[in-house]
Symmetry: C2
């Protein structure tokens, strides 16, 4: 292993040069003008996998942008790991806020600046580097490795579900390894073992056929905004708990072990609030901030509108009021069941003086890995060795729909081992990659492959 | 009196021709392009008052459009009545919805169609007609009459308060007679003895410095829309009562006599709801619909906005949320005191996790005449005789700020005797005047002047 790590140390600059080549291609998936760049980027990855000696290298087309596949499966009896990543990047606007051109990668201080530096080309190339060292030093990786690198993650992975369903044999694996998340903070390498799900609806309330004069009608006609605010306000009690019947029935509760683990993580409430300009934090009573953020369901009104919104005063009772409502869900909460519960509850509490229409718009399941799984322990040990510091177990409050989908369709365990940092401006101007994380991350991955190879195939 | 009424009957067509002349002038006060028409209209009224033989006829300039004044004060010892009206009209858009040009008055069936036909030129000309008959038959009116006809009612009477304050002597009167309201329905001539007041505020809630990802922050950060809906919803209880401390302290309650009077008025709940397309009516428990509409304060959210309002789903926790809030007040509720109470209450219930800003925007007092006053009885009798049917006492849910202002500044009693009908499209396309109301209204006014002349000056 020391020889392998020495090889990483020796070649880290050339790994970085490889990454820079990829970062020069503006593979913005949302912009049709960059279609040729998407093809160039997919070709670059195919070529790279070929050069490393991967088999079955292919560009799998979809109705959108293609994904790149390759495998090195020469370790019969050993587990197979599918490494998922994406080669597409976010748009660069507002371009004027970049301090250097986004597709001319440049090292300044201890960071590499470019769009895609951390999300996700940088992390894809860390895996390519770790694999390259294994091949150079030991002729092949210690276990069976497959890569699937898609081109539509930044536009919602719209066609990736079909691709996976249509290529189950090709993608079959014991573990799915994804490096596309962020570490808690610098110096805290970690594994993300839980993600929240999502249910999203639009609510439309109608009180009359047209706007009314609040003097001539106020007092006897239901005001759709008053009604909607009353309905929405009733969905959470004073302790921050959602009041929709059945909402918590299936939610996985936080175990004592997990509570202990999360309690040990650093979370500075004042620093967190200051960073976003919030006067104070708030949340569901009886839970720590990290639990509220990662392990408890939420209910947020994402948008609301109705009536007069211009300057000045207009004494109108509007005909309609509207809101967008979403819930972040925790594992085992089925978003479709939740959506039905919310719908039934909203209809039940709608007064007869208005009409309501509810449109389910969007949804996804949460994800929760067993924190005692051998793979997570293997990853924890690898990160501790690679970074020279203890690794932590974290969850994320957001949703990554492909994670539960991959786990289910391929019947495999997902490992989320990300090397981004919260302040590395993913999706924002001056996106950058921390070079120490890049180096220590590759070292960790080299060890992780070894650790996973020692597990039994699932 | 019969000679007088005969004169009205004989000349009603020529009175209508007089009105048509006025209706041909597009005196739209909100449109600077119609400035010359405003002058023409004021001149027409001055000429008319001169021709009738009024004294001190003058056009009183303001910072906006002028008002026209004239007086016939040759009845020492008799009361003085100040007749208020306005010669400006609303814009005509949407012009395509008119079935005939708005400034080419035309009789079709039993109605006269034109912008201003009922609001308020038609009603001003009813007074001019009634006075003309008095002068023709008896050489002068039976009491002292002053006219003040302003040109900015449709744009909020912005400069009228100053004009009244600066001309208190000139305008001094015992009674202020205003014909600019509507009857309950055809066949129900009446006096409007109460108007609601108004307090209007804007509320701005801020939770963070910029919009946040609902996955990364949902659960620990206050969502300004959630907070605002909760605050707004708490302002009314389940019985429709406003919960702001002190809100009802000064409100004049409905007396048993008034309750009885209002209960006798026709109000068809289903017809009312159908007309506006409302599934059902609703209101403060314990009161009849007319009481809720006219004699009880309300609280309406006139507008609300925040977060994502476009098509689709965006998982954002918005930085800000906003609402416009207004309350219709009943007599004795001081809008400035109410505004302070609302402000204090909103601040008191604002959680520490957000910042709030509240901007008072607008307000006005309500108005309530004593239903037993001799002037109201005089008007009731005049209407009954003029229309040949019993007159009713009604209130209105809207606000007319000049009414309490005139009553206070001139220390006089206001009489609201209006001849419009709810379906005569004031402010809308195809505004029209009911010719039977025009005729019977003039008869009623002729009698009303006589009845008022028999009262003692206040």
């Amino acid at each position: 292993m020391q020889t392998l790590l020495n090889d990483v140390d020796t070649h880290v600059d050339s790994f970085l040069d490889d990454l820079k080549t990829a970062l020069r291609i503006p593979s913005i998936s949302s912009d049709p003008a960059h279609q040729p760049d998407m093809t160039r980027m997919a070709d670059l990855l195919s070529t790279k996998l070929h050069e490393l000696g991967f088999d079955k290298v292919q560009t799998i087309s979809t109705k959108g942008h293609p994904a790149v596949f390759g495998e090195w499966c020469e370790q019969p009896g050993k587990p197979t790991v599918l490494i998922y990543g994406h080669y597409d990047v976010q748009p660069v606007d507002p371009i004027e806020q970049w301090t250097a051109p986004p597709f001319e990668p440049e090292v300044r201080g201890d960071k590499l600046f470019a769009r895609g530096a951390v999300d996700d080309k940088g992390q894809v190339y860390m895996h390519l580097a770790a694999v390259a060292s294994w091949i150079k030093v030991n002729e092949k990786p210690p276990l069976n490795i497959k890569f699937i690198i898609e081109g539509e993650e930044e536009v919602g992975s719209e066609h990736f579900g079909d691709l996976v369903a249509n290529n189950k044999e090709l993608l079959a694996a014991d573990y799915i390894l994804i490096s596309d998340t962020t570490m808690l903070k610098k110096g805290f390498p970690g594994i993300t073992y839980g993600l929240r799900g999502l249910a999203y609806l639009q609510i439309d309330v109608r009180g009359s056929n047209s706007d009314l004069h609040s003097g001539s009608f106020g007092g006897v006609v239901a005001n759709p905004i008053n009604v909607l605010t009353k309905m929405l306000a009733s969905l959470k009690d004073d302790k921050g708990r959602v009041t929709i019947p059945g909402f918590y029935d299936d939610a996985v509760e936080i175990s004592a072990a997990e509570h202990d683990g999360l309690s040990k993580l650093p979370f500075d409430e004042i620093e967190f609030a200051d960073a976003i300009g919030a006067p104070a934090l708030t949340g569901e009573a009886g839970f720590t901030r990290l639990e509220q953020l990662w392990a408890r369901p939420t209910l947020d009104i994402n948008g609301i509108w109705g009536g007069f919104q211009g300057p000045g005063a207009k004494t109108v009772i509007p005909a309609e009021a509207h809101a967008k409502l979403s819930m972040r869900l925790v594992p085992n909460q089925d978003w479709q069941k939740i959506t039905k519960q919310v719908l039934a509850h909203l209809i039940a509490i709608t007064p007869e003086s208005v009409e309501i229409s509810i449109t389910p718009m969007h949804g996804g399941r949460g994800y929760l890995a067993g924190i005692d799984s051998p793979a997570i322990q293997a990853a924890k040990a690898a990160l501790a060795e690679g970074f020279g510091t203890e690794a932590v177990l974290t969850r994320e409050g957001g949703s990554i729909p492909i994670v539960p989908m991959l786990a289910e369709v391929l019947n495999a365990e997902v490992l989320l081992v990300g090397f981004g940092l919260p302040d590395q401006n993913a999706h924002a101007p001056d996106e950058n990659l921390d070079l120490e994380n890049f180096h220590k991350g590759i070292r960790s991955l080299v060890i992780l492959y070894q650790n996973l190879s020692e597990l039994k195939p699932i």
